[in-house]
């Protein structure tokens, strides 16, 4: 597995934050790898296990539990729309619909196991997220690490990601 030196350095730095147990670094290491590769492959899981002196299953069970980890590649821009009550009352279903329409994403195949839908050109992917803790300014969404509140103009939002 080809991991750039600076990512390995970043990961080793993260591991140093857990002087009592290297296993504690599972989440941070996975975050670094997912941030770099876009998702967590089997190789990434095995690499993480080796780095932290764990069995691969101890890493895989973490990957499959947390909604924040993915096992397949998302789009270049990954959108998370808050689905929970206050945002839903502010129109998150409509926001999801119009984002899908503008990005050409078909969500009909979405299931609990496969929550992410991808546009055909791979530029955008989208999923519903549970409460993003900004209930007073719904509907809210995230595009990669960018956060948007009171979203009304979808065209304007997407124009940041041409």
């Amino acid at each position: 597995m080809n991991i750039p030196k600076e990512i390995v350095r970043e990961i080793d730095q993260q591991i140093s934050h857990y002087p009592v147990s290297k296993r504690s670094a599972v989440l941070p290491v996975l975050h670094s790898l997912q941030h770099h590769f876009g998702y967590l492959s089997d190789d990434a899981v095995e690499w993480t296990a080796e780095r932290l002196d764990l069995e691969p299953i101890q890493v895989l069970e973490v990957v499959t539990f947390y909604p924040g980890f993915r096992q397949s590649a998302p789009g270049k821009y990954h959108i998370r729309v808050c689905r929970t009550l206050s945002c839903a009352m502010a129109g998150s279903a409509e926001l999801m619909e119009s984002l899908c329409e503008k990005t050409g994403i078909d969500r009909s195949g979405v299931t609990h196991q496969e929550p992410i839908a991808l546009s055909e050109d791979g530029k955008f992917s989208i999923e519903f997220a549970e409460c993003l803790a900004s209930c007073g300014t719904g509907p809210v969404c995230m595009v990669n690490d960018d956060f948007y509140e009171s979203v009304s103009d979808v065209d304007e939002l997407l124009s940041n990601y041409e």
């Binding site: 934050h17 857990y18 002087p19 009592v20 147990s21 296993r23 504690s24 670094a25 599972v26 989440l27 941070p28 996975l30 975050h31 932290l52 764990l54 101890q58 069970e61 973490v62 539990f65 947390y66 909604p67 924040g68 980890f69 998370r80 689905r83 929970t84 009550l85 206050s86 839903a88 009352m89 609990h112 997220a129 549970e130 409460c131 993003l132 803790a133 900004s134 209930c135 007073g136 300014t137 719904g138 995230m142 690490d145 956060f147």
Partner: protein, 465 residues
């Protein structure tokens, strides 16, 4: 509030008392250490370091500070649970996993006043004797992670973190730990498991609470962001003086977050118990939307039991007992508990008569079905059942027996799980059925009785024959 000015449109309401949120939306305020130090930042820490840890704990106990994360447990008492003869290392974790639907306060503290949190945390670590601490922050706050890491580096450069802090002989390292999108990590033992690099399955307690056996099986204190911020202010004025704000047993200020069907949703820091539900919704939030009537309020995060708009409550005991209406409820821990619900995390969700309550409950049930960790059978299975039943009610394919089934499922989760998620996921369903049975029954139709709708049940029924 002296010479402080706030951004236009973001000014605090006159009924607010800004303590923890003093610098939120403030003009000319930046989350940098120089801004913080210019206004007496870290002075309380310096003062605390000259005192005995015991003295600091006593001050927090005398203040009566109750946890702001949801349970409302007194923070000083929690700190006191560390075994007196303990020889193991002690850890402190700041719970910044803010994910209770309806709650949006910690984000602003982290983004706009990170040093306030760090100062409170460092004082708390000194008090409980922790030399290693973590801030467990939800993954969806990437900006907050950067701000906190920067603030930690600044504090370290100024000698407020690291070895021999301010030449006191006290050492402390704080690291930021990111979660990965799981609500259950807000439960303190789930959080600890997650910080140990595992699935966040909550631990069985009692007998051992984290203060006795937490991270790496060592004594561990887990406190919410807002709670830790208050520690600094308690040190500033002293426990007794701090306890003069708010109301007895419900001391201090707390941040209430209002969302849903009001004209001006937002966050308001108020003295606990000094503002009623009516004042909060009508005065501070501009009231309901024009022409709308109140249907329901969820007063303390989505897990709190719902209140009917026209409900009457009896509070007080014996001769002091009196009946009050929803609008008269003072927003404190004890009264909301007496009204059969809870102050929880301070997230108030307002629902007017334009909403289908079946739809509201279904939205919450979907949340809990998604977030159940799956460790305990009643919750893992039950939360999904509740979602499936309300799915049916929403699209009008419910049968007359569905409400009884739904209620029974909820009652069979409540009290039968390792952690409080069991109550959190069943209380909405229980309370909605108890208070809005007629509304929910609209989704139940006689012709649907005995009709199998999903492929699994059709297949299962075929096997039975």
């Amino acid at each position: 509030m002296g010479n402080i000015s706030y951004y236009t449109g973001k000014e605090p309401h006159p009924r607010e008392k800004r303590v923890v949120f003093r610098n939120v939306d403030r003009q000319g305020w930046y989350p940098s250490i120089s801004t913080y130090l210019a206004e007496g930042g870290y002075e309380q820490l310096k003062k605390a370091l000259t005192e005995k840890p015991r003295t600091v704990i006593d001050k927090v106990k005398r203040a009566g500070l109750r946890g702001r994360g949801g349970a409302g447990f007194p923070a000083g008492v929690k700190w006191g649970f560390i075994p007196p003869n303990n020889e193991k290392p002690v850890y402190l974790i700041c719970n910044a996993d803010e994910s209770e639907p309806g709650t949006f306060k910690d984000r602003y503290i982290i983004h706009q006043d990170p040093h306030q949190l760090l100062e409170g945390m460092i004082i708390a670590c000194f008090a409980v004797g922790a030399n290693l601490a973590y801030i467990y922050i939800r993954e969806e706050f990437p900006e907050g992670v950067k701000i906190l890491e920067n603030a930690i580096a600044e504090a370290r450069r100024k000698g407020f973190l690291g070895g021999n802090i301010q030449k006191s002989g006290f050492d402390l390292e704080i690291y930021v730990h990111r979660g990965a999108g799981a609500y259950i990590c807000g439960e303190e033992t789930g959080l600890i498991e997650s910080l140990e690099g595992k699935r966040p399955y909550p631990r069985i307690k009692p007998p051992f609470f984290p203060a006795a056996m937490g991270l790496y099986l060592c004594p561990t204190i887990v406190n919410n962001v807002e709670t830790l911020c208050h520690v600094k202010h308690i040190l500033e004025v002293g426990g007794e003086e701090w306890a003069k704000t708010g109301t007895p047993n419900n001391t201090g200020t707390r941040i209430l977050c209002v969302s849903g069907d009001v004209k001006k949703p937002g966050y308001f820091e108020v003295e606990v118990g000094k503002v009623t539900m009516g004042e909060l919704i009508h005065d501070m939030c501009g009231g309901l939307k024009d022409g709308r009537k109140l249907q329901a309020i969820i007063p303390g995060g989505s897990s709190a039991k719902v209140l009917r708009g026209d409900e009457k409550f009896t509070i007080g005991k014996g001769d002091a007992a009196r009946k009050i209406e929803l609008w008269d409820i003072p927003m404190d821990f004890d009264t909301l508990a007496a009204c059969g619900t809870m102050a929880g995390s301070g997230g108030v969700i307002v629902i007017d008569d334009s909403r289908s309550l079946t739809w509201v409950l279904n939205n919450l049930n979907s949340f809990y079905a998604h977030e159940s960790c799956g460790q305990c059978t009643p919750c893992r299975e039950g939360s999904l059942w509740m979602k499936k039943i309300t799915d049916r009610l929403v699209n009008g394919s419910g049968s007359p027996e569905d409400l009884d089934t739904l209620y029974r499922v909820a009652k069979n989760i409540d009290g039968r799980t390792i952690c409080a998620f069991g109550e959190a996921c069943s209380w909405p369903t229980e309370s909605f059925i108890e208070k809005f049975k007629d509304e929910l029954a609209e989704g139940c139709k006689t012709e649907n009785s005995g009709v199998l709708v999903n492929p699994e049940s059709i297949a299962a029924a075929a096997n039975l024959r």
